[in-house]
């Protein structure tokens, strides 16, 4: 594993804040989220639905949909401040420097444009090559993501492919302009177990070949366990914990992290054992309690948790925002 502390990060996100203007009242969807991705690293981002995972991804490449708006923080990619880029330059980053894999392969491909055309368009937009060269590269990528008979696939339309094949194309589209970073937003959630394993394998192979950095957004801890080098846990728009993957499972610092792990039914668990559930539900937007967002569900919550938002504290290789972090013994 590459030591994250020795190199400078490829992507550095500091205090990223995203708000929604609902009836004139600004609601915070992301509250001062900070993390970094190092070159060649896979950063996993986990959290329950609505935790703000997708917004984080979208905010980085400035793809937030209107009621959502980035209101603060800095985003630096290889020294370049993305948050200050004009739209035109941002377009160069998107796809060119940062590839994005969407969750649902069924809806993220344009149904009336052929696979090949979509690939060529993307390649031409970034690599300044055209015509036959782009075509050749597109064919290469179709082959690289493991689709047989690239020439035939090139002419096909998305509906002629199965879900797994489409997701492969989506990945090809994200990677075909040789970006430095790939953000994959739940790349396997919509897929079946068997296909999921295929896609994860593909991502891993591509990652090994090209050393591209990766932000892997998921809510499946199993995927995290297999794929991530480091993990950021989001809760209600805030970072709960950032740890190397081994530490996260072995010794989670934040009670929420532990709750999440224990609530996940896993084959390793004994069939007779009762699942541990976290009481309550994640607060919705605008209903975040004062203090630590997790305090109403937390078994360790005390007065200070209700009074102030715990700051992100770094300890050894991990960072967490909790006043009463769990010790290794408890886990």
């Amino acid at each position: 594993m590459k030591g994250p502390l020795v190199t400078t990060p490829l992507l550095d996100v500091r205090d990223l804040t995203v708000a929604i203007n609902r009836d004139g009242r600004p609601l915070t969807a992301l509250d001062k989220v900070s993390f970094s991705v190092y070159p060649g690293e896979v950063l996993g981002i986990v959290g329950e639905s609505g935790a703000g995972k997708s917004i984080t991804g979208a905010a980085i490449i400035d793809l937030l949909v209107p009621p959502l708006k980035r209101t603060g923080g800095t985003i630096t990619l290889a020294g370049e401040r993305l948050d200050q880029l004009p739209p035109k330059a941002m377009r160069r980053i998107r796809g060119g420097k940062i590839g994005f894999v969407f969750q649902d392969p069924m809806t993220s491909l344009n149904p009336v444009i052929s696979i090949g055309r979509q690939l060529c368009d993307t390649i031409e937009a970034h690599l300044k090559i055209g015509g036959d060269k782009a075509r050749k590269k597109a064919l290469e990528w179709i082959e690289r993501v493991g689709l047989p008979n690239p020439d035939a696939q090139f002419r096909r339309y998305p509906h002629q492919l199965s879900g797994g094949m489409r997701q492969r194309i989506v990945i090809a589209l994200a990677l075909c302009a040789d970006p430095a970073l790939v953000i994959a937003d739940e790349p396997t959630t919509a897929l079946d177990v068997s296909v999921q394993a295929h896609i994860l394998q593909l991502l891993r192979d591509l990652h090994c070949e090209s050393k591209v950095s990766m932000m892997l957004i998921t809510h499946d801890l199993g995927v995290i366990a297999k794929m991530a080098d480091r993990v950021a846990v989001l809760y209600a728009g805030r970072v709960a914990e950032i740890s190397p993957v081994a530490d996260l499972f072995a010794a989670p610092k934040h009670p929420y992290t532990r709750g999440l792990i224990r609530a996940t039914p896993m084959p390793a668990a004994d069939g007779g054992v009762r699942l541990d559930q976290i009481p309550g539900a994640m607060p919705g937007l605008g209903a975040i309690p004062p203090g630590c967002a997790f305090n109403p569900r937390c078994f360790r919550a005390e007065g200070d948790c209700r009074a102030a938002i715990p700051p992100l504290t770094t300890r050894e290789s991990a960072a967490f925002s909790c006043f009463h972090p769990l010790e290794r013994e408890i886990a």
Binding site: S162, P267, D276
Partner: protein
């Protein structure tokens, strides 16, 4: 367990979804083929038992559930419930995967939960019905005050609780759960699974639990059936199935799901893709993806075999797959 009486028997049940035919096709009396979503499934569920059903998407799990629930008629075979002294079949209820589409957005929670009570006349009078609704809502962890609200005001997990309350309101003897938690977050899923397990224990329900998540089915089911392309390829008591699967597909399925073991980060994709269910392969349906497939698998449908533990599987080979990931042959099939 095995001494309990049979509750539901499926006898060589098949379901074919026919393609809608054009006028000319019908004139030509073209072959009446279609998607054989469920093919020749025989299954017995005993009283008080939870039968789990797993398989990849499109293998016919939901179709089977709809057949059992009576929403659809099987094309062939029969489905028989145990009848009570009066010759009545047991009341059944069903809980669906999508908590958003399974509640009518124009009805209040009270009306939704009360519907089975009213239809089956389980309680008489407004007050009695309301009291029962409140009781049920409390039972699934909601508050009686929620009865006046509309489904839109609830989160997915809460909705699924409402669905459970509605199902319970019908005082079912048999409960079909079609992927009841796969739309939910882990933390909510744990809550719902716990709730369901409590209910199973307390109400001694017989149920059919469908999911594609093996971990979930392992926790929830007493016996598990594995389906592939409409066929039941293996069926065994829960622990037995995980300990010593007999069908290669079961093994591969178990391995394919990523676990939280960070010591071993290898992935185990099943080679190849699921064939089009409308045109299943000849012989053993799994042979296109099976690492052990031999010539016989490509030509002849495998026989049904029983195991000493009371399980069943369909495979030509009799493999010991108890810890197979190590000695699996490399995949031969390519992604199609």
């Amino acid at each position: 367990m095995s001494s309990a009486p049979d509750f539901l028997i499926l006898n060589h049940v098949s379901k074919i979804y026919r393609r809608s035919q054009g006028f000319l096709e019908r004139l030509k009396k073209a072959d009446a083929s279609g998607t054989k979503a469920v093919s020749d499934v025989s299954l017995t569920v005993r009283h008080g038992e939870t039968m789990g059903l797993v398989g990849e998407s499109g293998c016919g799990k939901s179709t089977l559930a709809r057949l059992v629930s009576g929403l659809m008629e099987p094309t062939a075979g029969e489905i028989a419930f145990r009848r009570d002294a009066a010759g009545r079949t047991p009341r059944l209820q069903m809980i669906f995967q999508d908590p958003y589409s399974s509640l009518n957005g124009r009805w209040t929670i009270e009306d939704i939960v009360a519907e089975p009570i009213r239809v089956h006349r389980l309680r008489q009078g407004r007050a009695a019905i309301r009291a029962r609704v409140d009781e049920l809502l409390t039972q699934v962890g909601l508050s009686p005050a929620d009865a006046e609200k509309y489904p839109q005001e609830f989160s997915g997990g809460q909705r699924q609780r409402i669905c459970i309350a509605r199902a319970l309101a019908g005082e079912p003897e048999f409960l079909i759960l079609d992927e009841p938690t796969s739309a939910l977050d882990v933390s909510v899923q744990a809550q719902i699974l716990n709730l369901l397990r409590d209910l199973q224990k307390n109400l001694s329900l017989t149920s059919l639990f469908i999911t594609h998540n093996l971990s979930v089915v392992r926790i929830m089911a007493d016996r598990i059936g594995v389906m592939y392309l409409g066929e039941l390829v293996e069926e065994a008591p829960s622990e037995e199935l995980f300990r010593r699967p007999h069908h290669p597909y079961t093994r591969l399925l178990i391995d394919a799901a990523p676990d939280m073991d960070i010591g071993d980060r290898s992935l185990h994709p099943i080679a190849g893709e699921l064939p089009n269910p409308a045109f299943p392969p000849r012989g053993c349906r799994f042979h296109t993806r099976c690492p052990f497939a031999g010539d016989v698998c490509r030509t002849t449908a495998p026989p049904q075999k029983t195991t000493e533990a009371g399980g069943m599987f369909r495979c030509h080979l009799d493999l010991d797959l108890s810890n197979a990931s190590a000695n699996m042959p490399a995949s031969k099939a390519k992604t199609a």
